[in-house]
């Protein structure tokens, strides 16, 4: 899938303008502007502490912003009068540490939001969830509790939980960082499949090779600012900015 400019007739799925966030004196986000079109896969890269995770949390309204505007499909969701729960229900999030609910079976984890937030009858929610779990080889684990699953399986279950309600936007926050190296592949494979299916994804990642393969665009963050925003192939083949080159040289020695 190629990077497509934001359509004129339909607003982008996500539009960020001048997002700022400080923790005390420490400015984590210093004016972020970003557009994500439908079906686009955007990789956020940058060193730890560059603001990737905070940016994802602000998009999902899990983090307050100090300034700026967040538009979700053209609607200003940063307005304090917005029903934040409803907005979060339209966005899927996957965390670094999976954060599955340990007291619920995998199936209940996946169907919880469908049943409680989207008011889908249990039978229908479970039928859908079982289909999704089966399609990624977790069908046999539907009735198991998360602690019976490997890290890779847990993270894939967490991804299924995030997409079970057909969110307009999927946010992935370093979803492979907590995994053993041999388990990273299966999770990335699932993300690749979602991208191929046309899911709109914004992902913070340290997996440069994966970002190069799957992302349409790469956004390089440094100290709370976007330093470079380029098509993935261009970014990895010929980064424009000196800081991007320096950053990449640490991850991809051959670049």
């Amino acid at each position: 899938m190629n990077a497509s400019p934001a359509g004129l007739e339909t607003p982008p799925v996500l539009r960020l303008r001048g997002i700022r966030r400080a923790f005390g004196d420490h400015e984590v986000l210093r004016g972020i502007d970003l557009d994500v079109a439908a079906h686009e896969v955007v990789a956020l890269v940058g060193a730890s502490g560059s603001g990737k995770s905070t940016l994802l949390r602000t998009v999902n309204l899990l983090e307050r912003i100090d300034d700026g505007v967040i538009l979700l499909a053209g609607e200003d969701v940063s307005d304090p009068r917005t029903d934040a729960d409803r907005v979060r229900g339209r966005i899927g999030v996957v965390f670094q540490a999976y954060n599955l609910f340990p007291h619920l079976s995998v199936l209940d984890n996946v169907t919880l939001a469908s049943r409680l937030v989207h008011r889908i009858p249990r039978a229908e929610a479970e039928r859908r969830a079982l289909g999704l779990l089966g399609s990624i080889g977790l069908g046999d684990f539907a009735r198991s509790f998360p602690d019976r699953l490997s890290g890779g399986q847990q993270q894939r279950a967490a991804i299924v939980r995030a997409i079970a309600t057909d969110p307009e936007l999927l946010l992935l926050d370093e979803v492979t960082s907590a995994l053993d190296p041999e388990l990273v592949g299966e999770v990335l494979e699932l993300v690749r499949a979602l991208a191929a299916r046309g899911t709109t994804i914004v992902m913070a990642t340290h997996e440069m090779a994966f970002a190069r393969d799957v992302a349409d665009r790469v956004v390089f963050l440094d100290a709370g600012r976007i330093i470079e925003d380029a098509p993935a192939r261009e970014f990895f083949a010929a980064p424009r900015e000196a800081r991007s080159r320096e950053f990449l040289s640490r991850f991809l020695p051959e670049a």
Partner: protein
């Protein structure tokens, strides 16, 4: 078929087990014998045996004391349910956010501070003799006011247990729930509280065991429970044996719960250390 080395190790472990069983049996016997000799050999033993361990008085007092104990059990059941509900309410109020809830939060915090500080027996007197004086309610039995006092006091402790449990659930769980679009209340009910309950079950059962014997205090209001019945029988026979009977009955009542609590916390510990030798 295990190797010879493993068979040797197993034989050694079997010998070791036999030895430790023998040693522990022997040391128990010696200790019991020493205690018995010291007790029976003491100069006042005959008198103590007569006034505290008279089998005839015990048999004669048993029916009345048992009847009293039945009242304790009833009060215990009602109070336990009341404590669970009220404590959960208090703990939930203390986790509410937003300025509207400030007075409620402050009230709940003040309540737990106050009732954890006041001795139960004073609460019993104040509730048992004070509230009826308001003449709001008709005449209620003493056991009713005793139950209220128990609920008031124990809820303060148990709500703190709940609150500790709620805070022990990792914030990322709440975050994950909210990220799915669950409201604060839904996240609390479906995600945080179930996990908090699991974490605090042993502590809750401990409080239950404590309450199991504190139900005996309702006797100060004149309710004829096991303690009060024992007191009546004691003055009747001029012999303290009924108190010993009541004490033993309370132990018997509490014992299953004590064992269950121990077993449960041992199991939790075993799960957390699964696969470890030390």
């Amino acid at each position: 078929m295990p190797s010879d080395v493993e068979l040797g190790r197993r034989a050694f472990r079997r010998r070791q087990t036999r030895r430790s069983v023998l040693v522990s049996a022997l040391s128990t016997l010696v200790l019991a014998a020493l205690l018995a000799v010291a007790l029976i050999g003491s100069p006042g033993w005959a008198r103590v045996q007569q006034t505290f361990f008279d089998p005839e008085v015990a048999v004669a007092a048993l029916p009345r004391v048992l009847q009293g104990l039945w009242l304790n059990v009833q009060v215990l059941v009602v109070a336990s349910v009341g404590v669970l509900l009220f404590a959960l309410l208090l703990a939930t109020i203390r986790t509410l956010r937003g300025p509207v809830f400030f007075p409620l939060r402050a009230l709940a915090a003040g309540y737990t501070d106050l009732f954890r500080g006041v001795p139960l027996i004073i609460v019993l007197y104040l509730v048992g003799y004070g509230i009826p004086g308001l003449d709001f309610f008709g005449r209620m039995p003493a056991a009713f006011w005793g139950t209220i006092a128990l609920i008031l006091t124990y809820s303060a402790y148990v709500s703190e247990v709940f609150r500790a449990g709620i805070e022990a659930v990792h914030p990322s769980q709440r975050l994950a729930a909210r990220s799915l679009g669950l409201s604060h209340g839904q996240a609390m009910r479906r995600v945080v509280l179930p996990q908090a309950m699991r974490k605090v079950t042993p502590a809750l059962m401990n409080d239950f065991v404590a309450m199991q014997k504190d139900v005996g205090l309702i006797s100060v209001l004149g309710a004829v429970d096991a303690v009060r019945a024992a007191q009546i029988e004691t003055s009747h026979f001029f012999n303290f044996t009924p108190y010993v009977v009541a004490g033993l009955l309370f132990v018997l009542l509490a014992w299953p719960m004590i064992r269950l609590t121990d077993w449960l916390s041992a199991r939790t510990r075993a799960r957390e250390q699964a696969g470890s030798l030390v």
